[in-house]
């Protein structure tokens, strides 16, 4: 190492550059197992590792991992422990929401935006907003569809709010739990490069549900084709965010199991959106008008022939 002043702090860079300058020195690197392949000096790895570098983020994640280890030190029965899960600023929440709306191929949502600072603010309030958005939009859409009918009496359908809340919160918390358990189990069998903590999975799922809020509001439009196109768009965006997040975590595994996991994730997501559409929004019965205009024509035609 270069001669330094005794009292001045000097950045020594990270492990690879130090190893390059002084290959015989012993270095201690504190990093999670997901980072180790990056530091192996293997030139013959091929393009797979470059892809890893992009997906795993840049060198800053080392420092944030260290800092994250120093952050959460309060025991779980104190209030400060839970405050660490709400340690986000406004612009960070907006960035994460933006990241869930614009899935860039090759960029991992967790590494890029969450970076070992998973928050519970986003998942909780996005789910709460989604619950009320679905319930209110469903109610409004049913009202607009049945507007002209004589026998229709408007009811606010308040019971559906609790049903929506149960469905959305169960999806946002139980599916990540199951997925996390599954990934932990596979990790014990196959050495995976990337492993996510439970809160990071909850975070990804919570932010990926954001696209459904404008979708639910647009579902008020009583056209079947419009609704299904919206389902496809929303599923495409949030499904791709989820798939790109979890693909590095299962890629090292058996081909079949990794494909089955990704398919299952997308399938459950689709089940949620289609189920909500079917349950909360009545089918738009647009065949009222054509039959009303068809029958007078038929009666006129019948009168002509007779």
């Amino acid at each position: 190492m270069a001669a330094v002043d005794n009292l001045r702090f000097e950045e020594f860079g990270d492990a690879p550059t130090s190893l390059a300058t002084n290959p015989d020195a012993t270095t201690i690197s504190i990093e999670d197992p997901g980072e180790t392949p990056k530091h192996q000096p293997g030139p013959a790895r091929g393009s797979g590792r470059e892809e890893d570098d992009e997906l795993l983020g840049n060198d800053d994640s080392d420092k944030t991992e260290l800092l994250a280890g120093q952050k959460k030190s309060s025991p779980f029965w104190t209030f400060e422990y839970y405050q660490t899960f709400f340690d986000v600023d406004t612009y960070q929440v907006f960035d994460r929401i933006k990241g869930s709306l614009l899935p860039i191929p090759g960029k991992n949502f967790v590494r890029l935006y969450i970076r070992s600072n998973p928050d519970l603010y986003g998942p909780f309030w996005i789910c709460a907003t989604l619950v009320f958005a679905i319930a209110i939009s469903g109610n409004l859409s049913n009202f607009l569809i049945h507007l002209g009918e004589k026998t229709y009496h408007y009811v606010p359908e308040f019971r559906k709010v609790s049903i929506a809340a149960t469905i959305i919160y169960a999806y946002a918390w139980l599916v990540p739990l199951a997925l996390w358990g599954f990934l932990m189990w596979r990790n014990s069998k196959v050495m995976n490069i990337v492993s996510y903590s439970f809160l990071e999975i909850v975070c990804v799922y919570g932010y990926s549900l954001f696209i459904y809020i404008p979708t639910a509001i647009l579902w008020i439009i009583p056209q079947k084709a419009v609704r299904w196109i919206l389902v496809m768009i929303a599923l495409g965006i949030s499904g791709s965010v989820l798939a790109m997040t979890f693909w590095p975590a299962v890629r090292e595994d058996n081909r079949r199991i990794s494909m089955a996991t990704i398919v299952m994730i997308v399938l459950l997501h689709m089940l949620l959106s289609v189920g909500c559409l079917a349950y909360f929004f009545d089918a738009p019965e647009m065949d009222h008008l054509p039959t009303a205009t068809a029958t007078p024509n038929q009666t006129v035609a019948a009168a002509k022939f007779s």
């Binding site: 209030f79 839970y82 405050q83 899960f85 709400f86 986000v88 600023d89 406004t90 612009y91 929440v93 603010y121 309030w125 709460a128 907003t129 009320f132 209110i136 109610n139 009496h153 408007y154 009811v155 606010p156 359908e157 308040f158 019971r159 559906k160």
Partner: protein
Amino acid sequence: MAEVAESPGDPGTASPRPLFAGLSDISISQDIPIEGEITIPMRSRSREFDSSTLNESVQNTIMRDLKAVGKKFMHVLYPRKSNTLLRDWDLWGPLILCVTLALMLQRGSVDSEKDGGPQFAEVFVIVWFGAVTITLNSKLLGGNISFFQSLCVLGYCILPLTVAMLICRLVLLAEPGPINFMVRLFVVIVMFAWSIVASTAFLADSQPPNRKALAVYPVFLFYFVISWMILTFTPQ
């Protein structure tokens, strides 16, 4: 003038001196008057001890609490940046408002088999658990407002929406139609905006500046849900 013999704090001395060793060397001359009162001048507390509220008439007690509640209602209706709501919080006002709102919003038990509006308990739970959730959220984000102060502010700021409910109830006595709905919509929107302005006037200052929007958004959602329940109320 007080003379203080300073003990040398030089780390270079050979013998380590015990802590507070130099204190005995301090001498205070007779010129400084050190008499005075050691009682804490909290007048209000001494007044309370003199005339305990146990012996006053019931009318006095009730009128005092009602006046406090009424004063806070005025603060909500004309929101200025004052600390009255925060300093002397009480939960009487929120309770009265919540019970009034829930009584007016509940559907009759006649059509319990149809899916209708909320029951009394549902409105009550939504208001109180919503307020508790927002308070917890605000505290977890690092706000320096106490739990009950926040509950007090959120509860008192339901007052404009309760007024909107009363007006909607009166408007619904007239003939139904689109004009009826437009009037109710306008009233609810105005009162919703009033509630938001009133509560953010009190709550926004307690948050760090880079998290204000994060703390205010749940308040917006809370009053929006209550406004929706008021707007969609249909008498049976």
